[in-house]
Amino acid sequence: MPELESRLRELGRHVEFPPTPDLAPAVRSRLGKRRSWRRPAAIAIAVVVVALGAVLAVPPARTAILEWLGIGGVKIVRVEELPPAPAIGNLDLGRSVTPAEAHRRAPWLLEPADRPDAIYLSASIPGGKVSLLWGTPERVRLLLTEFRGEAFLEKLIQPQTKVELVEIDGNRGAWLEDNHVLIYRDRDGLTREDTARLVGRTLLWQRGDVTLRLEGKISKKQALRIARSAR
């Protein structure tokens, strides 16, 4: 009879373990999130190139561009006059999904420590857009929209809108306090206006190649706290 230890070692070769899943792709897709913010230089150039096309497509009433600023996949553009306000309450967020499905479809999704009341998935932006909602679609308390960097958004702001640069975990962000209109390119490359127009307080930042936009009735301090808790 061999030693107990060697019998146990041999037993190890006969014990049933579930097959090891290939973890490399999922791990790999999550690696860049904190470290890849050195990359945005390339993204920023792409945004500028795309931006020229998009700005030209904006109707004449807004063509007077005063200044602009790029944050991730979003370009903030100060214009003389905002386009007329789209109807409020027509929030096109997409399809309501479970957190598990949201993470499966958008593995890059970041979630703040406070769990949202609902999560929506929309294909209106290339690469997908995820919206995390606190409150109800009729009474939105807070809305966090996330998409990947290859998408392109343009935010139009009025001359009096205050834009403040902030830092979130080493990444650049912007805090805006006023009304704005969001313009984005849809999957077919068409320039569209976002129908959502919330209270006008927005925090915009990026994490890796994910661009995040938090909107609602919150203070800058609250917004930064939520942003810094996103994982």
Binding site: M1, P2, E3, L4, E5, S6, R7, L8, R9, E10, L11, G12, R13, H14, V15, E16, F17, P18, T20, P21, D22, L23, A24, A26, V27, R28, R30, L31, G32, R34, R35
Partner: protein, 187 residues
């Protein structure tokens, strides 16, 4: 003449530290088997084990800056993965302990038996498994890590979150109990 050789683990870790994701992917592929199995023993089910192993690899990557150059990677990694596995087990409440089972028998015409393959008959294996499953959980875990997964004492200590001395004493206690259970006279 320059002979190209595969990079050593130390080189891969150094490259990963500098943000080389290809190098880290190689480390993941090299260690995912042992990481998943360790997590499976600790968490008690495959879904939590996969989750814990994935989370562990991501956390380890982010913590590479604190990894001491030149020290072995595996115990450090297993500590992080097993910690994730324990957290999942804890948050799921106290489930029934994992019962180890023997794999379905290969047909006799299958792969060549390992050199030691003839040592244990199916009946003997089942007796050994039953005795192992009857151990207290902390003892079953230490035996499973040390012998079934063939982790070193250092790796077992890291995986179970205990000191090396505890691994030693727990192992000898568990072996003694197994010998009694099996009626072995070589104790």
């Amino acid at each position: 003449m320059v002979v190209s050789r595969p990079p050593t683990e130390e080189e891969l870790v150094e490259r990963a530290k500098r943000g080389d994701e290809d190098a880290y992917e190689e480390l993941v592929r090299a260690h995912q088997g042992i990481a998943f199995r360790t997590a499976y023993l600790v968490a008690g089910n495959a879904a939590d084990a996969e989750d814990a192993a994935q989370e562990g690899f991501v956390k380890a990557y982010r913590a590479l800056g604190r990894f001491r150059a030149g020290s072995p990677f595996r115990p450090w990694l297993l500590q992080i993965v097993a910690n994730e596995a324990r957290n999942r087990r804890r948050s799921a409440g106290r489930r029934a302990a994992l019962a180890l089972r023997a794999a379905a028998e290969e047909t006799s015409g299958g792969a060549a038996p390992s050199p030691e393959g003839a040592l244990l008959g199916a009946e003997e294996r089942n007796r050994l498994l039953a005795a192992l499953n009857a151990l207290r959980e902390e003892e079953r875990l230490v035996i499973s890590c040390r012998y079934l997964l063939e982790l070193s004492e250092e790796e077992t200590a890291a995986a179970l979150g205990v000191r090396r001395g505890t691994v030693k004493s727990r192992t000898s206690r568990a072996l003694a109990r197994l010998r009694v259970e099996l009626g072995d006279s070589d104790a």
